[in-house]
């Protein structure tokens, strides 16, 4: 989506990126201070809370750690607000185009559903008001927060990673694909790129995010079938309706019980012989204790209340419990996101 921010909005977003990068530099220096005290991945306690307590105690007087926390807190609270402000500066000029892009081959079907508490009661990523917090929050999150902040502060190619896991699937002839947790359409776009002949459906509880996914699709002339709802309960989709079910980076936003329900529903809506591939944050067990603390600390203060419980999950037995076979969980880039879980519904 082509647009230009005004000077103030651009400068606000650039500032958030610089502050976040400075926080990362300070994080490394804080860890160097710990190493000088002989606190390393090898000496940290196994229990995560004990790890937090030890590090908080030993770095309590460290100006570097304090500054790291201040900068992190600033970004966590302010990045979304900076994006809102940047949007308001261009609102008058861009809204007609955003409304025009609602019309096209991609449809949104709204359903009556009870939003789960984990979603309705939590402002993920400390996004003020939650995903549906403002009228154009889908554009603000998908185009401003995601492309002008997240993609610049997270390591690696966060868009390329989506294509990577899809290209590793055993087939290239999927005709009907369901994405659970469509949000503003970043993974959906990867699906459309990798499987251009497939009919793509998506489900997400946020209507504001789906509206942005719809714009993204319509701009490219794509015909996605989008629905409001949650992956744990998808009565709008018949048994055996899809030959691939996928999701990207949604599991850490929900409790483990919801993840189990999603595996069960994914299994139900898959055709016999269909594939399931989902990706989420790297597993805690695949990180050393310092790296795991670093990610847990960032999640704790970054509006990720379900991170610790879900990043610690072994999803292989959960997928098998739902009925999947040939299940394997793996991390294509060791020590980094994403963790990928694959399974197949028996033919």
């Amino acid at each position: 989506m082509q647009f230009e921010l005004m000077q103030r909005g651009r400068a606000l977003m650039d500032f958030e990126v610089s502050v976040r990068r400075a926080a990362s530099t300070l994080q490394h220096r804080a860890e160097a201070e710990l190493a000088a005290m002989n606190i390393t991945a090898r000496t940290l306690p196994e229990d995560m809370e004990a790890r937090h307590r030890l590090i908080d105690e030993r770095l309590a007087a460290s100006p570097v750690f304090q500054a790291r926390a201040l900068l992190g807190e600033w970004c966590a609270r302010q990045h979304g607000r900076a994006a809102e402000e940047a949007f308001e500066e261009i609102r008058g000029g861009i809204v007609p185009e955003l409304e025009r892009l609602r019309h096209g081959r991609t449809t949104i079907t709204t359903h009556d559903f009870t939003p789960p508490r984990y979603w309705s009661e939590t402002w993920f990523h400390r996004t003020r008001g939650g995903w549906d917090g403002s009228d154009y929050n889908g554009f603000i999150h998908g185009e401003l927060v995601h492309r002008k902040y997240v993609s610049k502060v997270f390591p690696g190619d966060i868009y390329g990673n989506r294509r990577l896991i899809l290209k590793q699937l055993p087939r290239d002839d999927y005709a009907a694909i369901l994405e659970i947790g469509t949000s503003s359409g970043h993974h959906t776009l990867a699906i459309a790129d990798v499987f251009p002949a497939a009919r793509i459906s998506g489900i997400d509880p946020s209507i504001r995010m789906l509206e942005q996914a719809q714009r993204v699709a319509n701009e490219r002339g794509l015909a996605w079938d989008l629905h409001t709802g949650v992956g744990e309960d998808m009565p709008m989709f018949a048994d055996g309706a899809f030959d691939l079910v996928t999701a990207y980076a949604i599991h850490h936003e929900m409790p483990p019980s919801a993840i189990a329900a999603i595996f069960a529903e994914a299994f139900r809506v898959l055709k016999p012989g269909g594939d399931m591939v989902m990706a989420d944050v790297v597993r805690t067990r695949d990180l050393d204790r310092m790296a795991a603390w670093r990610m847990d600390w960032a999640a704790k203060w970054g509006g990720e209340p379900f991170w610790r419980a879900t990043a610690g999950l072994d999803m292989e037995p959960m997928a098998r419990e739902a009925g999947f076979v040939d299940v394997r969980g793996f991390t294509p880039q060791p020590g980094r996101d994403p963790y990928v879980i694959y399974g197949r519904k028996p033919a």
């Binding site: 610089s18 309705s120 009661e121 402002w123 400390r126 917090g133 509006g303």
Partner: protein, 88 residues
């Protein structure tokens, strides 16, 4: 705005003993803001004297070289604040 809330716990990062450092950081920022404000007012006056519409500033899109210069200048500003917080 929909329901829900930011569930992240409140925290106090800086102890009271560091309030002077915080004051120093604010003054460092104030100084930088003033230097930039002064420069911007001078710049817009010079541009106007040369007959250039300063409204173009709002819509200006920096190229790669300008982006690098802006990145470096922004880092200098941040470093000044971090220095006041003794994290330089």
């Amino acid at each position: 705005m929909s329901g829900g809330a930011d569930k992240t716990p409140e925290r106090r990062i800086l102890p009271e003993a560091r309030i002077d450092d915080l004051g120093g950081a604010i003054l460092a920022l104030t100084r930088e803001i003033w230097v930039l404000t002064d420069r911007q007012m001078v710049l817009e006056a010079v541009l106007a004297e040369e007959g250039i519409d300063t409204g173009r500033i709002d819509g200006y899109q920096p190229d790669e070289a300008m982006t690098r210069r802006l990145d470096a200048r922004r880092q200098r500003l941040l470093d000044a604040v971090l220095s006041a917080l003794r994290a330089d």
